[in-house]
Assembly symmetry: C2
Homo-oligomer: 335 residues x 2
DNA sequence: CTGAAAGCGCTTACAG
DNA sequence: CTGAAAGCGCTTACAG
């Protein structure tokens, strides 16, 4: 009844019980060769009887493969994170991989990741240094970058979204539909390239409408509520006038709205606020957020697909730009 | 210059280069025996020169230990998730463990997890069946349950928060300070015990104030915005009168507020809304959410601590109830 | 269709 | 303080 309390069964014990060699057990388990039906039958019974589960480390050692995908992050936070991880997890599982999470918060980055610990690595914006990327590349280790362009000489695939175009449409909307002119852009963290692309879209939209760029309206706000809120508070204190805020992302937008409310400015009547990402909470904040939808789960799934292709030495795209879409709700002034 | 493009160095190669035996390399790497300083010096140089990184699978096989902690989840979503995972990750890293994430969404639960794949398992409310818990217990496999009580005969440690008391204080506040009487309670998902404890706190608070419990006001709302929003919409359609909503958690509260706004009811003037958890976004929603603070990161950290104690065969608490704290902001009607 | 044997890359008694 | 050797639990040519 009580199966192997101490040592779990090994392939040897299963072999003995089934009266075959360990090789045969391996073959039925991995369908790696044809096995006589009666033999297979006996083997399966023995496996069940002993509750045998192959020891992953032993397989890893001989196959030189872990069936693990590493996910390298700078920080675990924000509303963007769950859907992205969900996408990665789902696609990884479908491909037969498990996920190993590394978060670097305040850690010195280290090359220890990957190599033999995982079969490939997905790195999130800013979580990895160029020099580390190079080392991986030299060793031909599979890597996919999320929201980050690799160095020229390390053409790893990367995936991100149509930031510029999305931002442009968003600002166009603010200008054309709502007649807004003094639009502040809250930059995200420096390590995030996406933020710079959004800035370009912002600038081009202004330009297209002959609105002069005002550097007072370009401020750093991070990708979180706190930082965005205080950036806006400071702007108000400084007496800078503005009638709209394009927050770095949706989390930042929530912080902006809160700061504005607290300062007695109504959203969207006094100030319009828009975000980026269309994170799950965005439709539920007050007022419902006008934003740009990024296919967050799809980003994660695509990253895994590209990684798996690399691991199988299949040809794979070098760059995937997922489309974004304007989502109009009420925080821009629309009803 | 270009270190080992193909096969990474093994301990044997390092040994040859340093003119010692592999055993010695192992000893300096693991500080598992005293090594002559000059020898150690040579070994370290050889390690650096070859860029040697020990193969984890080989160590795992001989040590029978993975240095991995498994995290078993039902679903990756919600604002609760990032801080919890952050706490788990931080504490695990400090203890020298990496994290393996398993999400069960729509998967048949399987005992394959753990066993030799990880050294211990943290399971989140509802992610594991009793029968699986039993199997782990029989094999004396280290497990810590989050927000879930283990079966009587499998006294695994578990950690959760003071749900009942927190809920009670919250409802007391609604009744005593704001004179609210028709308070609906939006239950979380069935698999979440926490929700039931919150319900008890809710009921006891009503009772303490001689307010009759009205089953019309007890409805299922899940722990996410969508479900909560539609539950409230339905309640309104059904013509049930209420002047406050205690949402299952903060995510649900955001959904409730949105649904109320959409129905033309002002929060908190017409209806007060309160949540549970004090997730990072809660102070930034409109109006800022009155809720009960759960020490989310601490939950994750504590779980890892209990797990590590088990793995080291140290004595360890069977149950940790983390304290909660009433957080009064504006969604209850306070200024 | 099946088995004997070597080997994956480490660690750890056991000797010296 | 150091080395030779066995062993962790699998997989896979190689034979038959």
């Amino acid at each position: 009844m009580n199966p192997q309390k101490r040592r779990p069964a090994t392939i040897i014990e299963v072999a003995k019980l089934a009266n075959v060699s360990p090789a045969t057990i391996s073959r039925v388990l991995n369908r790696t060769a044809v096995v006589a039906p009666e033999t297979e039958q006996r083997v399966r019974e023995a496996i069940t009887e002993l509750g045998f589960i192959p020891h992953p480390a032993a397989r890893q050692l001989v196959l030189n493969r872990t069936n693990l995908i590493g996910v390298l992050l700078q920080e675990i936070s924000g509303a963007f994170f769950p859907p992205m991880l969900r996408g990665i997890e789902a696609e990884a599982r479908e491909a037969g991989y498990n996920l190993l999470i590394y978060s670097q918060q305040n850690e010195k980055p280290s090359f220890q990741f990957g190599e033999h610990s995982v079969d490939g690595l997905i790195t999130f914006a800013g979580s990895i240094q160029e020099t580390d990327i190079r080392r991986y590349f030299e060793r031909e280790f599979p890597v996919v970058l999320l929201h980050q362009t690799p160095p020229q000489d390390c053409p790893y695939p990367f995936v991100t979204v149509e930031n510029k175009l999305g931002a442009e449409k968003l600002i166009d909307h603010l200008i054309e539909v709502h007649g807004l002119q003094r639009i502040v852009y809250l930059q995200g963290p420096e390590s995030h390239e996406d933020s710079r692309w959004r800035e370009r879209g912002y600038r081009e939209a202004l330009e297209a409408h002959q609105i002069a760029f005002d550097s007072q309206l370009l401020i750093r706000g991070g990708f979180d509520e706190e930082e965005a809120a205080s950036a806006i508070q400071k702007l108000i204190q400084d007496g800078v006038g503005f009638d709209a805020v394009f927050a770095g992302d949706d989390d930042a937008a929530a912080g902006v709205i809160a700061a504005l409310n607290q300062a007695g400015r109504r959203v969207p009547d006094d100030v319009a606020v828009v975000g980026f990402d269309d994170v799950p909470i965005s439709r539920f904040i007050t007022p419902p957020l006008t934003t740009v939808r990024a296919p967050i789960e799809q980003i994660g799934r695509t990253a895994v697909q590209l990684l798996v292709k690399q691991m199988l030495n299949q040809p794979c795209e070098n760059k995937v730009l997922l489309p974004t879409e304007l989502v109009i709700r009420h925080s821009c002034g629309c009803k």
